[in-house]
C-alpha cells in the first residue's frame, strides 16, 4: 500500500491522470485519421475544380448547354456536342443494370437460400472472381467471341420485334449498345451479387419463419420476407454496380463501335464519355480545344455519376418513408 503510493507520487503522476506521452497515440490517431479524411475530400474537390477550369475553353466556345446537349461530336470541324456520348453512357449503363441486377440478385438468393452448404463457399469465391478478370479481357472476349455468336440472334430479335421502340434496325452492326450493356452487366454482376448476398444474409430468421410458418413456398418467402427487407441494400448494391458501369472505359471502347452519333436502336453503334476520352486523348494533346472538350467529357461523367447516385438515394429514401421503416431487428422488446 505504502509502496504503491510512493511509486505513484515519485512518478509525478496524479492518481487519475495520465502522462502527456501516454496520451500521444490517442491524439496522433485522432488527428491522423481526420487529416486523411480531409485529404480525400480535398482530392475530390480538387478534381472537380481542376476539371472545371480545364474545360473552360470548350464551354466558352460552345456554351455549356450546347456542349452537353448538342448532338454533334465532330473533331475535324472542331464542333463538340457531347449528347451522343452522354446518351451512350446512359443507355449502356441502363442496359447493364437491366441485365445484370436480376441475375446478380438471383445468384445472391441462390447462394444464401438454396445452395447446399458445402458448395456455398466455393461458389461464392467463383462469383467474386468474376471481378478479378481485367476489363480489357472482357472487352477482347466480347469482341472476338460474343459479337459473332450473338449477331444472328440480335438480327432476328431486331427483325421480329421491330415494332417495339428502339429495337428496329436494318442491319445489326457487330459492336453496339446492346453488346456493351451485356459486357457491363457481366462486370457489375460480382459487385452487386456480393453486396446483395450480404444484405440478404441479414434478413432476420424470424421474418423468414413467419412466411414459412404460414405455409408459403420458398419463393413466396423470398418475395414476402426477404426482398422487401433487403430492398434498400439491393438498390445500394445496384448503385455501386452502376458506378462501375458508367465509368467503365476499355471494355466499352472495344465493343460499342466508337461512333459519335446518336443510335436509334439498342443495336446501333454509339460512344460513351469514358470511351471517347480513352480513344482521343492522344490526338487531342496538340489541340487545346479538343483537349478541353475531353476534359469537359470527364467533368460531365463526374457530374452524371453524382446525379445518378443522388437520384437513387433519394428514390430509396422516399420509398422507405412510404413503406414505413422495418422493425428494428435483434434487440429485446
Amino acid at each position: 500500500m505504502e509502496a504503491a503510493t510512493h511509486q505513484v507520487s515519485s512518478g509525478g503522476r496524479p492518481r487519475l491522470g495520465r502522462s502527456p506521452a501516454s496520451r500521444l497515440p490517442d491524439r496522433a490517431l485522432r488527428y491522423g485519421l481526420t487529416a486523411l479524411s480531409v485529404a480525400v475530400l480535398a482530392l475530390l474537390a480538387y478534381f472537380f475544380v481542376k476539371l472545371a477550369v480545364e474545360s473552360r475553353l470548350v464551354f466558352e466556345e460552345e456554351g455549356v448547354l450546347s456542349y452537353v446537349f448538342a448532338n454533334n461530336w465532330n473533331v475535324a470541324d472542331s464542333i463538340y456536342g457531347a449528347l451522343p456520348l452522354v446518351v451512350g453512357t446512359l443507355i449502356t449503363s441502363a442496359l447493364a443494370l437491366l441485365f445484370g441486377v436480376p441475375v446478380a440478385v438471383a445468384v445472391a438468393l441462390f447462394l444464401t437460400e438454396l445452395c447446399p452448404r458445402k458448395l456455398r463457399g466455393s461458389l461464392t469465391i467463383v462469383v467474386d472472381l468474376l471481378a478479378a478478370v481485367p476489363s480489357v479481357v472482357y472487352g477482347l472476349w466480347a469482341f472476338y467471341f460474343l459479337i459473332p455468336k450473338l449477331k444472328p440472334v440480335e438480327q432476328w430479335f431486331a427483325d421480329t420485334f421491330h415494332f417495339l421502340p428502339f429495337v428496329a434496325i436494318g442491319s445489326v452492326p457487330g459492336p453496339n449498345y446492346f453488346i456493351a450493356g451485356l459486357v457491363l452487366a457481366i462486370m457489375l454482376l460480382p459487385i452487386v451479387c456480393a453486396i446483395s448476398r450480404e444484405v440478404l444474409a441479414t434478413v432476420p430468421a424470424n421474418l423468414k419463419e413467419a412466411s414459412l410458418g404460414l405455409g408459403m413456398t420458398r419463393w413466396e418467402m423470398i418475395r414476402i420476407s426477404m426482398l422487401p427487407y433487403a430492398r434498400r441494400g439491393i438498390v445500394g448494391a445496384s448503385m455501386l454496380g452502376l458506378g462501375r458501369a458508367i465509368g467503365e472505359t476499355i471494355a466499352v471502347t472495344i465493343v460499342i463501335g466508337d461512333s459519335p452519333t446518336l443510335g436509334h436502336s439498342i443495336f446501333g453503334q454509339g460512344y460513351t464519355l469514358a470511351a471517347v476520352i480513352a480513344n482521343e486523348f492522344n490526338e487531342a494533346a496538340a489541340n487545346p480545344l479538343h483537349k478541353s472538350a475531353l476534359i469537359a467529357a470527364g467533368l460531365v461523367l463526374f457530374v452524371l455519376t453524382l446525379l445518378v447516385n443522388s437520384i437513387a438515394r433519394f428514390a430509396v429514401m422516399r420509398s422507405e418513408r412510404q413503406s414505413g421503416r422495418p422493425i428494428a431487428g435483434g434487440g429485446g422488446l
Partner: protein, 293 residues
Amino acid sequence: MNPQPTDATGEAAPETTTGGRPQNVPVVTEDGAAGTPNRPAPGGRQVALSDLSAYYGDHRAVKEVNVSFSAGEVTAIIGPSGCGKSTMVRCINRMHEEIDGARAEGQVLIGETDLYGPDVDVVAVRRAVGMVFQRPNPFPTMSIYDNVAAGLRFTGAPRSEIDARVTDALKAAGLWEEVKDRLDKHGSGLSGGQQQRLCIARALAVEPEVLLMDEPCSALDPVATLKIEELIGELKERVTIVIVTHNMQQAARVADTTVFMLDGELVEVGSTHKLFTTPEDERTERYVSGKFG
C-alpha cells in the same frame, strides 16, 4: 401416485421414452379409429407424436417422444432451457428441418396422416399446423390487413372471402376493436402485445387445425401476457393448441394437459393440475417445485 424411492422413478423414466404410457397410446388409436377425412368439428384435430426424434447434425435433441395432444385442449410443454421442447414443437409443422443439418425421425400423426409421410407436402403441413413464434414477427413492410391476409394471398381465394377471413381472424385474436380503424396502417406501429396478437390472427386466418405457440409471451409484459393467455383459453374451441413455455405459472394458468421434458426426453404427461400437485416422476416434482431449471 406413489412417492417411492429412486427405484421406482428409475423404472418410470424408460417406460415413458419407449412409448409405454398406457394413458396415451389408447388415445391415439381412438382418434385413428374416429378419424374422418372430412373437416373436423370445431376444436381442431388431435396430434400424436410417435417415436419422434429430432437431430441437429449428430446431436439428438429430442429422443423418441410419444405423446398426443387432444383436440379442443391446450397442452403446455414445460422444461428447462435446452430440453428440446421448442425443437419438438417445431417438428409438428416441420419447421425444424429448415435449419441446416436438422432432421427428424418418427411420426407425427394428424388424424391418420403422418406429416412425415412420403406424399405429404411441407407447405400443406404448415397450412394445417400454424405457428406463433417467440418474438412477434409481423411483416414490417405490410399493413395490418395485409399481414393477416399474407397466408391467404397465394391461395387464390376471392377478395370477399379474404376480407371475411381477415375480419374473423382479427376478431378471434381479440384485436379487431383495436385496429379496425387502421387496417391499412403498418403492423410495426402496434405494441408488442398487439403485434403478437396480430401474428396469432395471421396464423388463424389460414384456418389451421393445430396452433403451435413457441413461448409466445416471453417477449411481452405481464398485461400483454395476460391478454394472450385469455385468448388461448378462447381459441382452444377452434384449434388444438400446443404451447411451449418456460413459465410454469403460465402453463398452470392456460393448459389442460402439461408435458414435462428433460434432456430431450418426455418425462411425464398429465392433467395440468395433477402434474403440478402430485407428479409421478421425481424429476417432475423437483422441477415444478423449483429445485432446478
